[in-house]
Symmetry: C3
Subunit: 336 residues, 3 copies
C-alpha cells in the first residue's frame, strides 16, 4: 500500500510542510520509523526525539516545532496516526472472506446475517443471531437466544453463553467468556447452595473486550456494559455489575457483584472494586487501586483502600519517611 | 411456569400471610419485582425497601415486620428464594438433550455414562470416563485417564488434561483449565530446567469452578480441591495446593504451590497466598489480602502482608492520620 | 519403568552410597516416598525430614549428612531429581502419536513439519508453519503467517493469532492467547478510537507459557519474550513489552505496555509493572510488588509502590508498630 504525503494531509485535515508527492508505505514509532514511514509524537516528554527521528513524515501539533522535517500539523497527532494506520496496514485482521465454514454447527433456528464469516468448528445454538458483516472466528460458541450485532469481530475460542445481547461493531478477543454464572450461593450450615443465575448480559455498541476476560450473567436482570467501553485482557466482571459508556478497564481489573460504574471511568491495571458500590462518571482508579466505598463523580483515587489520590500521595510520602520519623521520635526527650 | 403462593409456602416450609391462590410467575430483586414476582430481603440494611417493593410475594424472617404485604415467613429468606428460583426459571441451562453429538471425537477406550450429553467437537481421550447424566458442552477436551463423575455440567471450551479426577455434580464454567503443569523449574546457572509434573488433580463432589480459572497438576501426588468448594472466575491454583471442603474463592484469587487450606475458608476478591503455608479451617482472607505466613483456624486476616483484621484496621486508621501526625511531630519542642 | 541406583548415580554424575543393584520404580516427595522411590531435599529447612523419610534412595549434597540411608551425592539434588523424573514417568504428556487428525482444518499454504502431531479440530491458516516434532493439541488455532518452531508442545485450546513467531521447544499450556490486540485507543472528546495494532509477537526458544495467559501483539514492531523465559498461569503481557532471557513470571503477573525487562528477572505472584519502565537484568520483584519506576540491575524490590526490599521491610516493621507509636506520641508532653 502506497499513499502520498499530500493524500495523508487531506485525509486527516492537516497542514502539510513538505513535498506532497512524497510516498509513504509504512508507519512506525519515532525510534523505528524510516524515510518512507509516517510517525508521530505520542508523549510530550519525548519531544527531543522528534529531531532525531528518521521518519519520512511526522504528525505534529502547533506547539511542537520541528525544523527541517516533513510534517503534517494536526490537532491530535495520535488520532491522525491511528486513522492512517488502518490504511497502511497490509492486511486487515482477520481475513474478510464472507461465508460459513462447512464444519460450523449452526441451529436451524439461528439467524446469520449477510456478508459475514462464520469460521471452522463454530457452534451457534437455537434462536441465536449474528448480524450483517460480523466475523465469528474458529471455535467460538454462541448459546441459545444470544445475539451479536452487525460488523462485529469475534476472535477464536470466545464463549458466549445463552441470553447474552451484544451490540454492533463489537470486538471480542480470544478466550473471553460472556455469560458465565454469577458467584451466588446461600450458605446453610457449612454447605453453599447455588442461587440459580437466571439473568443475562447486555453489551452495547462499539465495545472492545480483551483476551481471556470473564463477564458473569446477572442473578436476574442484566449485567450491563455500555456503548464504547473497552476492556484489556483478563478482566473479571461479576454478576449484576452495571458499567456505563466509554469506560476503560486495563488488564486484570476485577469488579465485584452489583457495583455501578458511571460513564468515562478509567480503571488502571490490576485495580478493582468491591461489590454494591457506586463509582461516579469520569472517576479514575489508579493502577492497583482497591475501591471499597463509593467514589464521587470525577474523583481520582488510588491505593488500598482507595483514597483521593492527593491524600494517598501525601500519606505515601510520609510512609517513605517512616524510618526517619521513628528514629526522631525515639530521640525525643521524655519519650520513655 | 406458574406456581401459587400456597404451593411456594409449602415447598419452603414457611408461614404464608396472604392469599394462597395468588399466582407467581417470576422472581426478581426488591427493586425490579412486580405483582406476579416473588422477592426477598438479601441484606438487612435495605429493610426499608421492603415496604416500597411492588413484589407480589416476599420471603421474610420473623424479625422483618412487613405490614400490608403478602409474605412467607422462613428462617433463611435467601435460601427459600434460591429454591424457588430453580422452579420458576423458564429453561434450565444448558439444554438437556441426552446424546452424543456426531462431531465429537471419543476414544474407543473412553467410557461415557447414560443420559448425559456430549456436545459438538468435544474430544475425549483414551481411558477417560464421563459419568451418568453429565453434560459436556462444545469444544471441551478431556485427556487420558481423566474422569468426570455423575450429573456434572462442563460448559464449553473447558480443558481437562490427563489424570484428573473430578467428582459428582461438579459445575465448570467456560475456558477453565484443569491439570496444566505446575510451575516447577530447577535453575542451573542462568537456565531453568523443567521439573516434569507427573502428579494429577483431584476435585471432590459438588464443586463449582468459575470461568477461565487455571488449576495446576501436582509435581507428584495430587493437587486437591475438596467437596463443596466454589471458585469464582480467573482463579489460579498452583501445583500441590490442598484445599478443603466448602471453601469460597472469589474472583482472581491466586494460591501458590503447596499451600494447605482447611475447610470453610473464604478468600475475598484478588486475595492470595504464598506457597508452603497452612491456612486453618474457617479462616477468612479479606479482599486483596496477601497471606505470607500461616493463618490460624477461624482467624480473619487482611492487607499486605495479611495481618489479623483488627490489627490491620487499627494500623489503617493511623495511616489515614499520618499527615496530621507528621505535622504534630514536627511542631514538638526539642525535635531538632 | 525400572532403573537401578547404580544407573541413576551414573546418569546424574553423582556418588552412590548404597547397593548399586537397588531397583527404583518411582519418585516422590520426602513425605510420600517409599522404599522403591527416589527423593531429595528441596529446602534446607526440612533437613530433619531426611532421616525420617522412607525413600529408597535420596539425592543429597556434601553438606547434608544422612546416616544409614542410600544416597547419591550431587551438586544440585533438585536438578538430579528433575532429570530422573523424566525417565521414571510412566507416560509422557501428551501422547506421541505422529500424524495429522482427519478433522484438522489446515490451509494448503501452511507448512507442517515431520514427526509431529496435529490434533482434532485444530485450525491452521494461510502461510502458517509448524516445525518438526511439534505437537499441536485439539482445538488450537494458528493464524496467518504465524510460525511455531521444532519440538514444541502446544496444549489444547491455545489461540495464536496472525504474524506471531514462536521458537523451538516451546511449551504453551491450555487456553493461552498470543497476539491479541494491544490496548491502544486515542480519546477524542469522550470516544475512544482504536489504534490498529499492526505489529506481531516474537517468542524465543525454550519458552514455557502457563494456562490462560494473554500476550498482546505490538502496535508496530514486536512484543518480545526471550529464550528460556517461563510464565506461570494467567499472566498478562501488554503490547510492545520486551522481556529478556531466562525470566520467571509467576501466576497472575501483569506487565503494562512498552515495559522493557532484562534477562533473569523474577516476578513473584500477583506482582506487576506499569508501562514504559525499564527493569534491569537479574532484578527481582517480590510477590504483589507493583513497579512504577525503573528498577536497577540486580535490585530486589517489593511493595506498593515497589521499593528496594530492605527499605520496604524497614517501613513494614514500623507500620506494624504504628499503633504503639501513636500512643507514645499522644502521651508526649507539649503535644497539644
Amino acid at each position: 500500500m502506497k499513499i502520498t504525503a499530500g493524500k495523508i494531509a487531506e485525509l486527516v485535515g492537516g497542514e502539510l510542510s513538505g513535498p506532497p508527492e512524497l510516498v509513504i508505505t509504512g508507519a512506525a514509532g519515532l525510534d523505528e520509523a524510516g524515510p518512507s514511514d509516517v510517525s508521530f509524537l505520542a508523549n510530550q516528554k519525548y519531544a527531543s526525539k522528534l529531531a532525531e527521528s528518521r521518519a519520512g513524515l511526522l504528525f505534529v501539533t502547533e506547539k511542537t516545532p520541528v525544523a527541517g522535517k516533513n510534517t503534517v500539523k494536526v490537532k491530535n497527532p495520535q488520532l491522525a496516526f491511528a486513522k492512517v494506520l488502518g490504511l497502511i496496514a497490509p492486511e486487515v485482521n482477520p481475513p474478510a472472506k464472507p461465508g460459513i465454514h462447512a464444519t460450523a454447527v449452526i441451529s436451524k433456528t439461528a439467524k446469520i446475517g449477510k456478508d459475514g464469516f462464520i469460521g471452522p468448528f463454530v457452534v451457534i445454538e437455537d434462536g441465536a443471531s449474528v448480524g450483517n458483516g460480523t466475523v465469528v472466528c474458529a471455535h467460538c460458541f454462541i448459546g441459545r437466544k444470544s445475539s451479536v450485532g452487525n460488523s462485529g469481530l469475534i476472535y477464536p475460542n470466545v464463549t458466549i453463553r445463552e441470553n447474552v445481547a451484544i451490540g454492533d461493531r463489537t470486538v471480542i478477543h480470544p478466550g473471553t467468556v460472556i455469560g458465565s454464572d454469577g458467584f451466588g450461593f446461600v450458605t446453610e450450615g457449612k454447605s453453599h447452595h447455588k442461587i440459580p443465575q437466571l439473568g443475562g448480559v447486555e453489551i452495547g455498541n462499539d465495545v472492545e473486550l480483551g483476551a481471556n476476560c470473564a463477564i458473569d450473567r446477572a442473578t436476574f436482570g442484566k449485567t450491563r456494559i455500555g456503548d464504547g467501553t473497552k476492556f484489556d485482557n483478563l478482566v473479571h466482571i461479576a454478576h449484576n455489575v452495571q458499567i456505563g459508556r466509554n469506560c476503560l478497564l486495563a488488564g486484570q481489573v476485577g469488579i465485584a457483584g452489583s457495583a455501578t460504574i458511571g460513564d468515562n471511568v478509567v480503571f488502571g491495571g490490576q485495580s478493582g472494586s468491591t461489590g454494591h458500590v457506586t463509582i461516579g462518571s469520569n472517576a479514575m482508579i489508579a493502577g492497583r487501586g482497591a475501591v471499597i466505598n463509593d467514589v464521587a463523580e470525577g474523583q481520582i483515587v488510588s491505593g488500598y483502600p482507595a483514597r483521593p489520590h492527593r491524600e494517598a500521595m501525601k500519606i505515601e510520602a510520609i510512609i517513605h519517611k517512616l524510618p526517619e520519623l521513628y528514629d526522631r521520635l525515639k530521640k525525643l526527650k521524655g519519650n520513655e
